[in-house]
């Protein structure tokens, strides 16, 4: 066990936990921020995507020790009321089916758009291909990203 200073969604907190614990499980089980999902545990599905200093990372494969003192944003920190432009675009295109993958998809899309307001198809492909959607909502994910990008 060790003590870590965490900066999650702008909230600073201290946590005593095994340093090897993946950030995913710290978020879900210690901090009860369950919008970040478990899908594979091996950085293959993107369900656990969060922002690490503004970059999309797979929290299942990031030990909490590496997250200490870094700015972490989860879906809960993206907006107060679900009114971030990317979330709004997701609602406008009614993207979700089961919905399980969508918070991870939104976090990947937001990280991309924050850096690049008008990404090309190839750039979207590169940013989004780490997120699996078992329900196959990719066509709508694309539409939502395109409409969020043009609004910026």
């Amino acid at each position: 066990m060790a003590t870590f200073n965490l900066d999650i969604n702008g909230k600073k907190q201290t946590l005593d936990v095994d340093p090897k614990t993946p950030l995913l499980w710290v978020l879900r089980e210690h901090l009860k921020l369950v919008g970040t999902k478990y899908g594979c545990g091996i950085a293959q599905c993107g369900a656990c995507t969060v922002h690490f200093e503004g970059n999309a990372v797979r929290s299942c494969s990031l030990p909490v020790s590496a997250a200490a003192n870094k700015k972490i944003t989860t879906i809960e920190g993206l907006s107060e009321n679900g009114d971030h432009p990317v979330q709004k675009a997701w609602l406008e295109h009614d993207v979700a089916q089961c919905g399980y993958c969508q918070t991870g998809q939104i976090m990947s899309a937001t990280a991309l758009l924050n850096k690049n307001a008008n990404p090309t198809d190839e750039q979207i492909e590169a940013a989004m291909s780490g997120n699996i959607c078992r329900c196959g909502t990719y066509v709508r994910i694309r539409e939502a990203i395109l409409s969020a990008s043009s609004k910026k």
Binding site: Q13, D18, T21, P22, W25, R28, E29, H30, L31, K32, L33, V34, G35, T36, K37, Y38, G39, C40, G41, I42, Q44, C45, A47, T74, I75, E76, L78, S79, N81, G82, Q87, W90, L91, D94, A96, Q97, C98, G99, Y100, C101, Q102, T103, I106, D121, E125, A126, M128, S129, G130, N131, I132, C133, R134, C135, G136, T137, Y138, V139, R140, R142
Partner: protein, 754 residues
């Protein structure tokens, strides 16, 4: 830190949702949408609901709540089923509160998600419930106003008496209406006058989804809850012999390690009690991560199983099945399938004299198709919450058929069904797998054993290697042609591990004079289960690829070729029990021709493949357009046409078809689970390839045939024909026919050779 607990009783939940207003909605079955939010008064909500039929509740303040009866796994019934009620009730959809109903098969019907049945089976009951409640409200207003009920009209949640100028809200009359007996016969609206059904509505849980609210059981927390995981054998054909848990027990957060028997010897299973492993090695601890770590410290000895007899009850009576011992491999599966394909098989249907026709044929086309086991890979792995005591059981989680698992739980826990409460959570996918309830029973037994609330969690690896797969299939299709290239006979002989896929009465049965369908099966200890359009998902792939090749052989356009066969099936059908409607089949193909610009020369730049299929009472057809991207065939766009009768929520229906298309392309190119010495060779997404964003089409154009037919299935029908449309387009693109799924393997090989 504040601990978040979900309250289970409605009363306390409503309290907590009000307390949390503006913040986190901490609920499982919570209000999904409330409009206008500000009008909900915290004080009296809990007690003031007047129940008008099991599905509808109205407060005196005119808040109208509709319960969704059916499990939600992404098919969007949370939205579409309440829409049906709202239509007949005549309320403003925007003001309706939607809530997941409790598990109650008496009040809320069959509550089963599968077989593309949700809308089909609830269409009438929900319309009747809405219409009955509307009539009760009119009756209540008529009594109050002393006017005949016939003169009371409704509009968007209001009651009017035109002559006297009186009016009131539904809420004004809800208390009185709730006391009026539910009318026996009610008049339903004319479909043409619908204004909720047939207009696209957004997913009522959309906001919760995009904000990451705890919608899924895996997100659920409960006071004193422990986490349990099961270490199952590393291979089919193995079972637990002994274990040493001393190291695991020393790991932080670990409470207990024990073994548990799921079913007692001789337990008579139902068709959905399928389980792969019976002796469970269970690790229980405080958190998922700690339990995952402790599992690595287990020292386990596994031993081979022997042939086991299972008794399975069902609608057709009891059957005994022998589950063979042995460690099976894909290579030996393929060899065995080739061998069995040559043996005599069970005749499923015969028309005319196919043997003679084949003997006299001028030409014969014969092709064999294969497909691998598929894992469902629901995005949310299997999990279930259970709190079981000697007196009662509370179970909360994702399951497609709570009404089927309840009798099993009652038997195994030895509790009366009314002491078992099952709550349905939104599922992170299902695809058929969650119709099987082994993980509920496991969770329940574990909770009882550790005397605590427990959440059983499957890791992705546990989930993928557990079994209950789409079976491995093969089929050989043969067609006999006369000298004029007329088809004089057709033969399908299909088999699989451990069941055959053949639907003997499906097209092209009924369109060819001499027809033979046969099936065979090879027993296996690899368990199987329903997977999006069971059997159809293979048949369509094989049959529709074969018809494409056959059309080419006789020199006809593949759509015209099918239309000719369907014309025959309609005008002069062969045999009995043809289970499709030729007109509706023709309808989707004709509309597809139009929508896809089938004969438009501009589209020649695409490698186009077409396929159509009928299942779950609906008709679906696709044109898949392939181009080369980075030297590889890529499905750039797809045109889809579906006839599923009346469409409830068009945009959501389009989403469902688009998803089915992506699912079909993904499985056609990449899907497949293989085995070596009983062990699955894929246990996570690094080796089990799933379709990803860059491989999905840019555009999937979906159209529905417009008619007034009562709704038929939608979740499954568009899926099966995708495989063949892909194979047929790949042929155009590569010059090579694809017979063995997943096709991607062979494309890669080609590239290496080039």
């Amino acid at each position: 830190m504040e601990k978040i607990n979900t309250s289970f009783s409605r009363r306390s939940f409503l309290k907590s949702s009000v307390l949390a207003s503006g913040g986190l909605m901490i609920s499982f079955s919570g209000l999904s949408k409330y409009m206008p939010e500000d009008n909900i008064k915290p004080i009296n909500l809990a007690d003031e609901w007047n129940e008008l039929t099991g599905y509808i509740k109205i407060t005196s303040d005119n808040i109208i709540k509709i319960l969704n009866p059916n499990p939600e796994f992404g098919q969007n019934v949370m939205t579409s089923l309440p829409m049906i009620v709202a239509e007949e009730l005549d309320v403003d959809w925007k003001k309706v509160v939607v809530e997941m109903g409790p598990h109650d098969n008496v009040k809320l019907g069959p509550q089963f998600t599968g077989g593309s049945n949700s809308v089909r089976m609830y269409w009438k009951p929900l319309r009747e419930a809405g219409a009955a409640a509307r009539q009760m409200l009119r009756e209540a207003a008529a009594q109050t106003w002393h006017v005949p009920m016939d003169e009371v009209t409704t509009k968007a949640g209001m009651l009017y008496h035109e002559k006297s100028g009186k009016s009131g809200t539904y809420g004004d009359f809800a208390t009185l209406a709730a006391a009026i007996p539910i009318p026996k016969g009610v008049t339903l609206k004319d479909i043409k006058s619908f204004n909720v059904v047939g207009n696209s509505s957004k997913n009522v849980e959309g906001l919760k989804i995009v904000t990451g609210k705890p919608l899924f059981a895996l997100d659920h927390d409960y006071e004193g809850m422990l986490i349990a995981m099961i270490e199952h054998p590393p291979a089919f054909g193995k079972k637990l012999k002994s274990f040493d848990a001393s190291e695991a027990l020393k790991m932080p957060g670990i409470k207990d390690v024990f073994s548990l028997k799921l079913y007692e010897d001789g337990y008579e299973q139902t068709g959905f009690d399928t389980r792969t492993f019976n002796d469970l090695l269970v690790v229980v601890g405080n958190t998922t991560w700690e339990v995952m770590n402790a599992r690595k410290k287990l020292k386990v000895t596994w031993e081979p199983t022997s042939d086991t007899k299972e008794v399975i009850g069902g609608f057709r009576g009891k059957t005994e099945v022998i589950i063979p011992a042995g460690l099976e491999s894909t290579s030996s599966h393929l060899e065995k399938m080739t061998e069995y394909a040559k043996k005599p098989a069970q005749q499923l249907r015969k028309d005319g004299d196919p043997e003679t026709a084949f003997a006299n044929a001028a030409q014969i086309l014969e092709r064999t198709y294969t497909a691998p086991f598929l894992a469902h890979n629901c995005m949310e792995p299997m999990n279930y919450f259970a709190h079981v005591t000697d007196e009662k059981a509370l179970l909360i989680g994702p399951h497609q058929a709570p009404g089927w698992i309840e009798p099993t739980l009652a038997k195994i826990l030895n509790l009366p069904p009314d002491k078992i409460e099952i709550q349905m959570t939104r599922m992170g996918g299902g695809f058929g797998l969650r119709a099987y309830g082994h993980y509920l029973t496991e969770a329940a037994l574990i909770s009882r054993k550790v005397k605590a609330p427990v959440k059983l969690v499957y890791s992705r690896e546990d989930d993928m290697t557990y079994g209950i797969y789409r079976p491995m299939y093969t089929a050989t299709y043969r067609a006999a042609l006369d000298a004029n290239k007329n088809i004089i006979a057709f033969h399908v002989k299909g088999g699989g591990i451990p069941e055959h896929p053949v639907h003997a009465n499906r097209f092209p049965a009924g369109a060819i004079d001499n027809y033979l369908a046969e099936g065979w099966a090879i027993p296996s200890n690899i368990t199987i289960g329903a997977f999006r359009a069971p059997r159809s998902n293979f048949n369509a792939a094989a049959e529709q690829s074969f018809l494409d090749e056959l059309a080419e052989m006789v020199g006809k356009d593949p759509i015209e070729f099918r239309l000719e066969l369907l014309k025959r099936a309609k005008e002069n059908p062969v045999g009995k029990n043809n289970d499709y409607d030729a007109d509706r089949y023709v309808g989707v193909l004709n509309l597809l021709k139009e929508k896809s610009g089938w004969n438009n020369p501009e589209n020649k730049k695409y490698s186009r493949g077409v396929a159509a299929y009928f299942c779950h009472n609906s008709y679906a057809a696709h044109v898949v357009d392939i181009v080369k991207k980075d030297g590889q065939p890529y499905v750039e766009r797809v045109f889809s046409v579906v006839d599923c009768g009346v469409v409830i929520n068009p945009d959501a229906a389009v989403n469902m078809v688009q998803g089915a298309v992506v699912d079909g392309i993904g499985n056609a190119f990449y899907g497949g689970l293989t085995h070596k010495d009983g062990a699955s060779e894929q246990n996570n997404f690094n080796r089990y390839r799933m379709i990803r964003y860059k491989e999905a089409p840019k555009k999937i154009d979906v159209s529905f045939v417009k008619n007034d037919v009562d709704p038929t299935g939608l979740g499954e029908p568009p899926f099966p024909p995708v495989f063949a449309a892909v194979a047929n387009a790949l042929y155009k693109n590569t010059g090579k026919r694809f017979y063995d799924q997943p096709f991607g393997k062979f494309i890669e090989l080609n590239r290496q050779r080039m």
